[in-house]
């Protein structure tokens, strides 16, 4: 994995019961979003939660996404930061809206390749609306969805 030494101290997800399936699927290289399992509802929801806010059904499933999206917004954090992040600063944090479901947006990092550090892309390449594709990389011992530019 690229940059493994530089990212080994980054925070890993503090999972709760509702969120754990997302991370389990990510570990298998799948981007899945929680959806209502009631046949006449089927609404996607994020972040995951116990009950569908549209129909109040407690039945849910995890629907696989294509992994394509667009950058909705981004920031470039500078210190003061937690030490492991300060070492990488300035890095990027982005919000991606999914092509399959534009109201589902995921926070992530734009990287040069799977497993690369969140400062591996030239900040000048960040642009709202840029098309991105999910990749899965190990960061701090945890597989996270990361994003690469469709046209780097």
């Amino acid at each position: 994995m690229a940059d493994a030494a530089r990212t080994s101290n980054l925070l890993t997800p503090h999972m709760d019961d509702d969120g754990k399936p997302f991370w389990d699927y990510a570990a298998k290289g799948e981007l899945r979003v929680q959806a209502c399992a009631r046949p006449d509802c089927q609404e996607l929801r994020f972040p995951p939660r116990p009950c569908c806010p549209h129909c109040q059904s407690f039945d849910s499933e995890w629907r696989r996404m294509s992994g394509k999206g667009r950058i909705w917004s981004y920031v470039l954090p500078h210190p003061p930061l937690l030490p492991a992040y300060a070492e990488l600063a300035p890095y990027n944090a982005i919000v991606v809206e999914l092509a399959d479901a534009p109201r589902i947006r995921l926070v992530g990092n734009l990287v040069s390749e799977a497993g690369a550090a969140p400062n591996s892309v030239d900040p000048a390449k960040l642009r709202i609306g840029a098309r991105v594709q999910v990749v899965f990389g190990e960061v701090g011992g945890q597989v996270l969805p990361q994003w690469v530019l469709e046209r780097p």
Binding site: L10, L11, T12, P13, H14, M15, D16, G19, W23, F46, P47, P53, W72, S73, Y74, V75, L76, P77, H78, P80, L81, L82, Y85, L88, P90, Y91, A93, V95, R103, I104, R105, L106, V107, G108, N109, P118, I128, V139, G140, Q142, L144
Partner: protein, 384 residues
């Protein structure tokens, strides 16, 4: 005594504050007690008459400690509102409701914080802040500045707002602080050049887009309108109050609904104006929560001073300065007076309507005070 409406049923009759500084030697509890004793003295009400308290997270000194420290009487109402700076005005709302309905007679709201010399909450990697942290923090979206910076970049992209608009906010607050000897930035003028060349905190937000880090405390005293007429100071009436938690809202990481750029201000505003005898055009002076400069254009839209996307343009032409369309944060606000989770905005609203502000708006008779936008929020309309 009991009333079907909160409108003008109660009044703020006392305010108190400690000095504001990056570091004060006293404990948070001591600062809280000093601010409360000062507020009761200002009101001319004995501490033994206090029978209600309201505070908001992350206040660490609880009612038991406060009540026994200041010598309160038997307390029959106490409440604590969540979501940090979103709860400031809700303390007024809760006390007004308690006093107006006869649950209590003398209410004290306060905030004490050692955010200047104490730890930064986001540095705690074990306690989870009230945000869905598993979806944001691993990716380095660590601080409120990062979370709000994300919304700010999108806001600028969608509506054409600029860094000059954010500077207009920072400058108005700094100019008022330069008139206020109690403000941390009293002797520190700000220029456009300083703003544009300052270091980034989370690009697109620079140093001057972020509030101060302050040790300090403030408090105020609420009684019924009837009782207020016999108090030492000119009453400042609580005209309308509201809290706001919009449907499908997510806090400062409000990225997961249909309209992330409209937040709790919109919800609070609808209720606030519905209960009021006047509208945004009648507000003489505003104290709008300013943990970050972009919260001002968002709040200007939310509270109806302009339309969607017009908050940036609203700041042009000195609109937020004394003599402008809407004089803002006349003590200097969280950006330049002190960041005490917005309580200084409440006390400054009271000073304006008493006519005792260091940057007095002539004949100010109405004031909007808001709590934090971007978290479950609250607001209050004050009138002279």
């Amino acid at each position: 005594m009991a009333s079907s409406s909160l409108k003008d049923a109660t009044a703020i009759v006392g305010i108190g504050q400690t000095p504001f500084a990056k570091q004060l030697p006293q404990s948070e509890k001591t600062l809280a007690a000093r601010a409360i004793v000062a507020a009761l003295d200002d009101a001319g009400i004995a501490p033994s008459e206090v029978d209600a308290f309201a505070s908001y997270t992350m206040e660490e000194t609880d009612e038991v400690e406060i009540a026994k420290a200041v010598g309160a009487g038997d307390v029959t109402f106490f409440s604590k509102v969540g979501f940090g700076g979103g709860g400031s005005c809700a303390t007024i709302a809760h006390l007004a409701a308690a006093v107006a309905t006869g649950q209590a007679n003398v209410g004290v709201a306060w905030r004490s914080r050692k955010r200047g010399s104490g730890p930064r909450p986001w540095k705690n990697t074990t306690a989870q802040l009230p945000t869905p942290a598993q979806w944001t923090r691993p990716f380095g979206l660590l601080r409120p500045a990062d979370e709000i910076g994300m919304l700010t970049r999108r806001y600028m992209h969608e509506y054409g707002a600029t860094r000059d608009h954010l500077f207009n906010v920072a400058l108005a607050c700094r100019n008022r602080a330069n008139q206020n000897p109690a403000a941390m930035m009293y002797e520190r003028p700000l220029t456009r050049d300083m703003y544009m060349t300052s270091r980034w905190i989370s690009e697109p937000l620079c140093l001057f887009d972020n509030c101060l880090e302050t040790d300090g405390a403030l408090a105020c005293v609420i009684v019924s309108a009837e009782r207020a007429r016999d108090c030492r100071r000119k009453p400042v009436y609580v005209h309308s109050v509201a809290q706001g938690l919009p449907a499908q809202h997510h806090g400062m990481v409000n990225y997961w609904n249909d309209d992330p750029l409209s937040g709790p201000a919109w919800t609070a505003a609808r209720h606030l104006w519905k209960q009021a005898d006047f509208g945004p055009q009648d507000v003489d002076v505003a104290q709008i929560y300013d943990a970050f400069t972009p919260l001002i254009p968002l709040s200007l839209e939310g509270y109806g001073f302009c339309g969607r996307g017009e908050g940036g343009a609203f700041t042009e032409g000195g609109a937020l300065e004394i003599g402008g369309r809407l004089p803002l944060n006349t003590g200097g606000g969280g950006l330049s007076e002190a960041y005490v989770h917005g309580f200084n905005l409440i006390n400054e609203g009271v000073k304006q309507l008493r006519g005792t502000s260091t940057a007095q708006v002539p004949d100010a008779a109405t004031c909007l005070v808001t709590a934090g936008e971007g978290v479950p929020t609250s607001a209050v309309l004050l009138r002279a």
